[in-house]
Amino acid sequence: MTTSLSGKTAIAGVGYRQYKRGTAPWPERGVLVRAIVDACEDAGLDPADVDGFVSYGDDKNEPVRLMPDLGTKELNWSTQVWGGGGGGIAATFGIAASAILTGQAKAVVIFRALAEGNSGRLSAAVMAHHLNDHMVGVGMVAPAQVCAMRAQRLFEYHGVPHSVCEELVRASYYHGSRNPDAISYGKELDLEAFRTGRWIAEPFRLFDCSRENDGAGALLMVSAEMARDLKKTPVKLLSVAQGSEKGWGDLIENDRADLYPTAGFRAIRDKLYGMAGLTPADIDVVQLYENFSAQGVASLIDHGFCSYENVAEVLRFENLIAPSGGLPVNTSGGNLAHGFVHGFVTAVEAIRCLRGESPNLVPGAKTSLLAGGPGSPTISSAIFGVD
């Protein structure tokens, strides 16, 4: 028997705390507790009643250690998605929903916490997960370099114009400049700085790359039925898919030639839209995990919003901004301009944009797509909706 999880669970509470690197008021776990309690207060649920936790990306905060602060009565579900990058971010929703729909937990918090002083730099942590002698022997030690080499193929061989990256980054900064919580609040992208910024790893310059922040995020998931009795508009999980396919993965850059420049989402695209019964045209707003500009572009292509051929037509600044664009992307500023706590802000905004809480509202938005960490060996995405 196949049981679809579509529409049966909902996000009922949102908590997100972000700080400039090195300025968090507490050690990492303290910031996480604060974000979880924020999410519970947002929903109107006693934090002691949270009985499940899910994270991703090698988070160091084992849920059992959160119990004293939260007053947890029962810990019924404590798990994490494999993978060192942001590839597991959206998969967390599927794990949480699976627990709830099979009666193994009732109220599950999806979280990620990162404070430099405690878990080190994110880029270093990601690479600690992936590094091997094949890579360090050729100077490849950072996500930026691995993604740069794939971006080079996307531009030079597949003919995607580099200019679309500027359009995407500009849209993120436009939204971030209008978000008081964003690192880029009040500052739109300086195009000259973008075009002439120092090289990091060609073809990436400084502003093609995400910057890291300290912080923590928490999203409270319950059954759709239980969500109706809580404070906020339930945002239902319509679909989620995670994984990889033959020819993609942790293959020392031996991915199948046509998959190599992608962000890896072709493996799950049909399952993702199929479970929701939707197509790319039905998505009102996209929250796009962009660790690097080109991987954001590749992810939008993978998710079917555009193709190698029409990418320059679709990824235009005017088309990517709320409220007027046809494909509003990263309405809070995304990783690049809102802030980067291992991508969690994209998950947070995927919920807020459907609750009418976005700093850049898309009027009447009913569906949002969370495109998870691109280019990871295993990837995931999710679609959310409101009635």
Binding site: D133, G137, V138, V141, Q145, M149, R198
Partner: protein, 135 residues
């Protein structure tokens, strides 16, 4: 047995032993002939556990490349900027990475390259790796 400086050793021990001896050897399935890279213990296509390790010439074409300008931790043994290429070997359907040495003018996807085996300083270790030059 060869020890890794970073990460886990997979099934590619003979590859590292080969580099240490100045030879490039790659793995081919004895039963179905597939060139498995990353190396495997069991061929995922035919199920065989038997493999050859076959020496290959260091010739190929650039599949992609990046030139690193930022001083990432762990690259202290290399002079900036340095260029890393991903090369499709001419003789077998395998891609190997390497650092570029010599003139870089005209570097592009599809350019032909020739390699030699060298090593890269990483902390206190020297990691065997390939240097490619534009042919």
């Amino acid at each position: 047995m060869v020890q890794m400086v970073t990460g886990q050793l997979g099934a590619e021990g003979p590859y590292w032993d080969g580099l240490a001896e100045g030879r490039l050897v790659l793995q081919q399935c004895k039963r179905c002939g597939k060139w498995n890279w990353p190396a495997v213990w069991r061929c995922g296509d035919c199920g065989s556990w038997e493999h050859h390790w076959v020496e290959q010439p260091l010739t190929g074409t650039i599949f992609s490349w990046t030139r690193t300008h930022h001083r990432f931790g762990g690259t202290e043994g290399l002079e900036l900027p340095f260029t890393t290429v991903l090369v499709t070997l001419e003789t077998v359907p395998v891609r190997l990475q390497g650092l570029v040495e010599g003139a870089e003018e005209g570097i592009r996807i599809g350019a032909k390259v020739l390699g030699r085996i060298a090593s890269t300083p990483f902390g206190d270790a020297n990691i065997p790796s390939i240097r490619w030059s534009l042919a």
